[in-house]
């Protein structure tokens, strides 16, 4: 599997929590944003609606709105300004992605 995008450089001894990304159980740290949790485990947050491939956020300060992700219950969250919670279930691929 390809390396995750983000690399932790500091603050790594926070309590571990579990989340589920596209059906896969993953680890994150308490205090991670959803964006950090997803990108220390993988390489995307979502697919562009316009067919130009995966997106992984851009501004990280709530301005660009590129990082809205979906939970498996349909809730949408802005990943850079939402904290991850234990047991969260996130989908970065949807039924209409055609397996991309």
């Amino acid at each position: 599997m390809e390396a995750p995008l983000f690399r932790r450089l500091a603050e790594s001894d926070r309590p571990r929590i579990r989340l589920v990304i596209d059906g896969r159980s993953c680890a994150a740290l308490a205090g991670d944003t959803l964006l950090t949790a997803l990108l220390t485990n993988g390489r995307r947050l979502r697919l562009s609606e316009f067919g130009d491939g995966p997106r992984a956020g851009f501004c990280l300060m709530g301005a660009c709105q590129d990082c809205w992700v979906a939970l498996d219950d349909g809730t949408r969250l802005r990943a850079c300004t939402s904290f991850v919670a234990d047991g969260m279930r996130i989908v970065t691929r949807s039924a209409v992605d055609n397996g991309r």
Binding site: A63, C64, Q65
Partner: protein, 454 residues
């Protein structure tokens, strides 16, 4: 008598000083901030449970950060602080605020807008690939989350953030592929005499460059981005032209880029403040005077949201705007303090011209943007589609071009693509940038749930 409390939007350097000044006059201002904690972007606080000290998070600015946080925390009980609150509309004398998934109206009598700024971006082919972030975003990953955006990062663009963030990555043990500065070396040298008068900003910049070179990191001047290459659905290299015009390829797994900052002006627009084009900052800005007063009675501006001047100026104009509000309410604020603040603000404003000369906005990159470049990342509009809409439908004004192309119509409301789209349109029509106007702010200024909007 109208005894409604004044409102401050934003809790960065400007909002903090404004709130403190109003609280000192015993007015109990309502402070609305989208972030969960005060500090703004520059003095953004790490989440609970993080342990790095101020020195590690804020470097040279550690003392300023600590002082500002201490001031804000000391206001507990004397302000009505509402964090995690998005102000998404402003009309008929009321704010529409979203907090905890619920919207509520907050009528106001007078208000200080201190919404801050964001990175100014020029798209280039491949810029939407995973692994490519703004300079501010790369800094937030490190400061707020203890993460690097990659293992081998290219820092590209211009402005004080370029070297600051690269230095912070190097210091934290992050891998750096190179620092690529779009400003030619000669332009910087020409700006030196003016910059020297500006004191520490310039000295810090020189220090960061020296520290990067001492670590063996390549720093190149006068470059132009060409394209980002993709492998395994993320960025794998940055193509660029060096100062001599030779195309080069730099392998990397992340890019952080930006070209200075752009003011956050949507709320000022909804407040119906007139805008004027600022030739130094190359941006339309809401009109205001040095006191923060605007042509709209009861609405004041402070900080980078009123024009980019930096955190030190933001603190000064936050306080000045609050004093103006107090004066207009009939409070006695005296003459010495407002005069002192205005003198300090004028000194900083004089420094802005050489600073912009040292970090010029490379408008030629936007003007010459290849047609295939995704200009609007929200709506997936290419520069070519935007140009065609402008030329064939005779859109000689940016809101018209937006309506025809959808560029700037997406979730970010043109915050990201707007500055570059203006240059693309102006160049396509052979007009000066100020002639094609500015994207109007529209409510909701950021996405809100449908259930709230209806």
């Amino acid at each position: 008598m109208d005894d409604r409390p004044p409102i401050v939007i934003g809790a960065g350097p400007a909002g903090t000083r404004a709130a403190a000044t109003l609280a000192a006059a015993r007015l109990v201002p309502i402070v609305l901030d989208e972030a969960p904690a005060s500090g703004g972007q520059i003095y953004r606080r790490a989440p609970a449970g993080f342990t790095r000290p101020y020195r590690a998070l804020y470097g040279f600015d550690a003392a300023k950060a600590r002082r500002l946080h201490t001031v804000f925390d000391g206001l507990a009980g004397s302000i009505d602080y509402r964090p995690d609150t998005l102000v998404w509309d402003m009309r008929h004398g009321a704010l529409h605020c979203l907090c905890g998934g619920r919207s509520r109206e907050v009528p106001y009598r007078d208000i200080i807008l201190a919404p801050g700024a964001r990175d100014r971006i020029i798209p280039f082919p491949g810029w939407t690939l995973p692994g490519i972030y703004t300079l501010g975003g790369a800094q937030i990953a490190l400061k707020y989350q203890g993460c690097a955006i990659g293992r081998r990062v290219v820092f590209m663009g211009t402005g004080p953030l370029l070297y600051l963030v690269a230095y912070q990555y190097a210091k934290a043990g992050g891998g750096i592929a190179a620092v690529l500065d779009t400003t030619p070396f000669a332009a910087k040298r020409r700006a030196v005499p003016g910059l020297l008068r500006g004191g520490s900003t310039f000295a810090k910049g020189l220090w960061y460059v020296a520290a990067l070179r001492a670590r063996g990191i390549t720093v190149a001047n006068g470059i132009r981005p060409v394209a980002a290459e993709e492998k395994d659905a993320a960025v794998s290299a940055l193509l660029y032209r060096d100062a001599a015009g030779t195309q080069r390829r730099l392998a990397c797994d992340a890019v952080a880029f930006g070209f200075g900052l752009s003011s956050e002006t949507q709320l000022a627009d909804l407040a119906e403040i007139p805008f004027a084009f600022d030739p130094v900052q190359q941006q339309f800005l809401p009109e205001h005077d040095i006191t923060g007063r605007t042509p709209v009675r009861g609405v004041y501006l402070a900080g980078d949201g009123s024009g980019i001047a930096g955190a030190v100026a933001a603190e000064l104009c936050g306080e000045r705007a609050a004093l103006a509000l107090l004066e207009d309410r009939g409070h006695e604020v005296g003459k010495p303090r407002p005069a002192e603040l205005e003198r300090a603000l004028r000194r900083i404003a004089a420094f802005r011209v050489p600073l912009e000369a040292a970090f010029p906005f490379p408008a030629d990159i936007a003007a010459g943007m290849p047609d295939e470049t995704l200009l609007c990342r929200c709506e997936g509009v290419t520069a070519g589609e935007f140009r065609r809409a402008a030329r064939t439908l005779e859109a000689d004004e940016i809101n018209r071009a937006k309506a025809f192309s959808r560029c700037g119509m997406g979730r970010c409301q043109g915050r990201v693509c707007g500055p570059a789209a203006a240059v693309v349109l102006a160049a396509a029509l052979n007009l000066p940038t100020e002639r094609i106007g500015r994207l109007r702010g529209q409510p909701p200024v950021k996405p809100i749930p449908m259930a709230v909007a209806t």
